[in-house]
Symmetry: C2
Subunit: 206 residues, 2 copies
Amino acid sequence: MAAGIPARRTPGSRTRPGLDAERVVDAAVAIADAEGLPALTLARLAAELGVRTPSLYHHVDGLDGAHRAVALRGMRDLGTALRDAAIGRSGPGALTALADAYRAYALAHPGAYAATQRAPTADDAELRAAAERTTEVVFAVVRHWERDDEELVHLVRAVRSALHGFVALESGGGFGLPAPREASFARLVGIQLAGLEARAAGGAVD
Amino acid sequence: MAAGIPARRTPGSRTRPGLDAERVVDAAVAIADAEGLPALTLARLAAELGVRTPSLYHHVDGLDGAHRAVALRGMRDLGTALRDAAIGRSGPGALTALADAYRAYALAHPGAYAATQRAPTADDAELRAAAERTTEVVFAVVRHWERDDEELVHLVRAVRSALHGFVALESGGGFGLPAPREASFARLVGIQLAGLEARAAGGAVD
DNA sequence: CGTTGGAGACTCATGACATTAGTCTTCTCC
DNA sequence: GGAGAAGACTAATGTCATGAGTCTCCAACG
């Protein structure tokens, strides 16, 4: 009634399997990463957790809710990874570290990364905030080459596009030839770097 | 039995609704483009064609087959669009035209373009061939900056990544800010161009 | 120490889809 | 005119998502 805290259970005693939202999302991410995002169904998730499907509705808001939770987790973790990578660096070193961290996250968590895309970020403040927190890091790094805010937006989009495109193609099996992908990624980053430098030096590259 | 051509109907008389594989794929592409790839279900497709779901199995191999057919159509049309755009140009002009055509196709056919991704190109010779035909054009254009075949692979991957990343983010609503996307795309292409030029001029940009 | 409230799991029921099997109609060709 | 197949249909099955209502156990409170 006039309750304040809703009677938390002491954190050692549980009812049945003792599910909670975090454990559900953990399992969802694990399934999505290991078997692909489409494999993340409520039935699969329930089986994984040793529970019946309807029970999941106490912890996530249906299938969409599960996907959203995975996306949120992914976006937050990606943002953290980028932030950590960029700390203490600037300019080319920062961009390279950022790029490597980006790719490393996407490869380590393909399911969560994929969930991150197709984000209905419009009416979802939490997801939107996480996405912004991630983009902020890119802004901070790219600002080294461009002071003007409006122009900066374009450059950030370009860098994000390059990174996203690469990891999307890579994890989707889009690179058919046997050439080492690491080297390709290095060239991609190198091109971005050279492009940014040329831009900063020579002016408008349009 | 010993037939050669399987008794094509004269192309004006039809049985019932007179479906054939091409009409089915046309409708599938239309649905995917208009309502998103996930909206392409057999039920939806059958309704669109005024037919019952099982009837579709005479023309496409189930839902997967429908998705594959859309992907194949998309890959072929994209390849043709790129080829047309690159004809009669070379160097920066060719790359710009290629990029514009790429983006135009993805915007005009978001569903077909999306189907193009997540391609199980491995065991599908037809789809593989279409993908190669598309990539060939990029190879031809980028070769202007790089003669060595092995190195060329990396550069082509970089260019494809940039293009794909941009259109994927764009059509997925990944660009939150109101800045004009055309300008962002122009910067993206400009950066690639500057990067390729710098590379060709100065040597290894790694 | 018994009562009560709620969290969390369950069973049951419904509806959308995909997919397979078997049937029927209607051209087209001989 | 008849054979045969192309192409559409109905019926049946299985997987999922989702909602409604039920049961059980734990914890705090009297």
